[in-house]
Assembly symmetry: C2
Homo-oligomer: 217 residues x 2
């Protein structure tokens, strides 16, 4: 059955690979599953047809026959459960890899997303400059804990897993602020993720769309 995901018609990051469809593309590439992409404009994302697929009006979504999913974490887990390579076969190791998936999205990403809130959503507010260092420190606190756990290992728990896929993707969003590069072991961890052929194919596929001439120009 054909797998179809949705992505931004034009990603707000201009093709840096930070939009969440890159995470799903990466998982599909690791799993060796071919897929099609339907591009959605910012306007269409808030209209009824897309809201039927994604109640919060975002991308990506995932369709395969009768199944329709949203939420990147759930989509990546669904892919990981179907093909080898993204979750260990040992039951306990599998549960730990899934723990890292939730940790990436739930514990590490929220303070990183606050960087975007301060800079863009509240970028015109008088408190922007005074608030940014507080948000930076909250990100640093999480990255310090994560670096302590990673230690000198290549991946978070044994072989590369869907937990690493999501953690690397989340950490990439801390790179533009300079915070990732304050933690050399985490920067190297992210570089290991980016070096994977599956990541490179996923990145190139989203770039091909976002680097193309604008539909408007």
């Amino acid at each position: 059955m054909t797998i179809t995901i949705t992505a931004f018609e034009r990603s707000p990051d201009g093709g840096k690979g930070l939009a969440r469809d890159t995470r799903v593309r990466w998982a599909l590439e690791e799993a060796g599953l071919p897929y099609e992409v339907r591009l959605v404009s910012m306007r269409a994302m808030k209209e009824a047809a897309h809201l039927a697929l994604h109640p919060f009006g975002q991308i990506p979504t995932y369709e395969e026959g009768e199944l329709a999913l949203f939420e990147t974490g759930a989509i990546v887990l669904h892919i990981a459960e179907r093909r080898p390579g993204l979750l260990p076969t040992d039951a306990n190791a599998r549960a730990r890899a899934i723990t890292w998936m939730f940790a990436a999205l739930n514990t590490v990403e929220p303070p990183i997303l606050e960087l975007v809130t301060v800079k863009f959503v509240e970028g015109d507010k008088p408190w922007k400059d005074e608030r940014m260092p507080l948000v930076h420190d909250r990100v640093r606190a999480r990255l310090t804990q994560l670096a302590a756990r990673l230690g000198g290992a290549d991946w978070l728990d044994g072989d590369f897993s869907a937990g690493d896929l999501l953690m690397v993707s989340v950490l990439l969003r801390a790179r533009p602020s300079g915070l990732l590069d304050e933690f050399s072991s985490l920067a190297a961890y992210v570089a290991r993720g980016e070096a994977r052929p599956a990541y490179q194919r996923a990145f190139a596929a989203q770039l091909a769309i976002n680097a193309a001439p604008s539909p408007a120009g």
Copy 2:
């Protein structure tokens, strides 16, 4: 094998059931699994023994024989996979229920947690009063979308699932602000969750600890 979870020695909410151990207790009660609780002080939470279990120094954790997990979402999923009652047996319905687990923790909870940041973490900052309405509006935007999807249904997708368990738990955190009660269908949805015998047992168990005389007094 004995299941042991960790919880606050004294929850910051004084027993309102908003600490994350309540979510795990609820899942264990729905699944009919007995469990033990080890209480952890705020200080011990940041020490090496606890950090070995939870790299981000939080509660709850979950131990069962050789298996040690952290992250509430991962623990609830682990419980749901082992016993009937929290995930549908149909594969597609199961994937959709897991989608709601991620949606609760990843899409709905982050703006709700910002209420805590504004009120407590940044409660002494000059921007507090001007920023609060912005954060309220972000919560309202999510609750509006969620209410649209729920419609007149009892639960988010068919029977009660681990997705509802986490969504109800997340929405409970929006109640103190008054925002939950602006959405009558969501308030009724939360009330249905609270009425479940398993929730009531979980709530009572955490209250028994948090309503006890303080260890210091």
